[in-house]
Amino acid sequence: MIQSLPYLFLGLLLLAVLGWWVWDAIIHKSTAELLTPRHLVGLRSAGARRDVGDRIFGSQDWDFVLRETPSEIHRMFQRERTVLALAWLRRTRLRTSQVMHAHVAVARKSEDLQIGMELKLALSYLLFLILCNSLVGWVWLRGPVRTRKIVGQTLQWAAQLRRAFEQLMARVDPASCRVVGTNFNHGTVRN
């Protein structure tokens, strides 16, 4: 029992650090807001394509199905949306990983690295991967309807992480940033 205490302490410390990062990223939104001027955020969101994730996790269809259809359709709806939600989560994870890999490739060559910011991004990315994998399991078990809120919060945070990546890449290498920024929504990010 006493032998396992250091591991327990380390685990708790790691959890506390991760918790702090979540708090910092979701509640204070520091990374993205520090890196993204407000007027640019507005322009970006106005011009961006609609996210199919909103369509998959939205409650409107479920409310309609509950109200207007028999129970066999309820089950069919849950099955269909679970498949779509899982596909969407896996794609979101893949795209974020592609952006991260592109950023790492560019950062390696950069002479103007901000170590603190890079470390923060790396930890945020790690946390994002953990959360994303947990969500895949959670959605698979409980379905997209019951996991809507937690998925929504994670996605909000992922969007901020993406903006932070783009801003960092713009500083490190504007040419690469244009490539990643333009193609992110279409799933064809190139390294």
Partner: protein, 152 residues
């Protein structure tokens, strides 16, 4: 820049297509089926004799592709309730009996060919899943009616 330029080139053809052809069709689902059926599945090019008479074949094809994509986008982001309404409008516009139509569409998966060539893979999956749901819901609504017919 290139994309903006090409959109300006096809704008008169798009306007013509919207005003003279698509506006006469009852709803977005009918428009989607019409545009998909005007496409050559081997080449992916669209054909419209009237439009090609006024504009070039290439402009015509690009204009139809743009409209196809626009209508598809609207249907992907339409709610299930709206999609069912669109599907009902389309079924009413054909001369087929609704139960036959639903059976055939469900069995053959005819709606799969209505997806535009250049579209997001996941959006296509969302669309196919929603149409599948809409067909199933319409079939459950048809069931009591067809049972009544049989008993009469």
């Amino acid at each position: 820049m290139g994309l903006e330029r090409s959109n300006i080139d096809i704008e008169p053809a798009v306007t013509d297509l919207r005003n003279r052809t698509l506006s006469r069709l009852p709803g977005d689902f009918s428009r989607l089926v019409y545009l998909a059926s005007s496409r050559d599945c081997n080449t992916g090019k669209y054909y419209h004799d009237g439009l090609a008479f006024h504009f070039s074949q290439s402009v015509t094809s690009n204009a139809m592709a743009l409209c196809h994509r626009e209508i598809f986008d609207r249907l992907v982001y339409a709610s299930l309730e709206e999609l069912i309404e669109e599907l009902c409008n389309y079924i009413s516009s054909t001369d087929e009996r609704p139960e036959e139509f639903l059976k055939s569409w469900k069995h053959l998966g005819s709606y799969r060919v209505t997806i535009p060539s250049e579209c997001d893979e996941l959006e296509a999956e969302v669309f196919l899943s929603n149409v599948k749901m809409a067909l199933a819901i319409l079939q459950t609504r048809q069931m009591p009616a067809s049972q009544d017919e049989q008993s009469a």
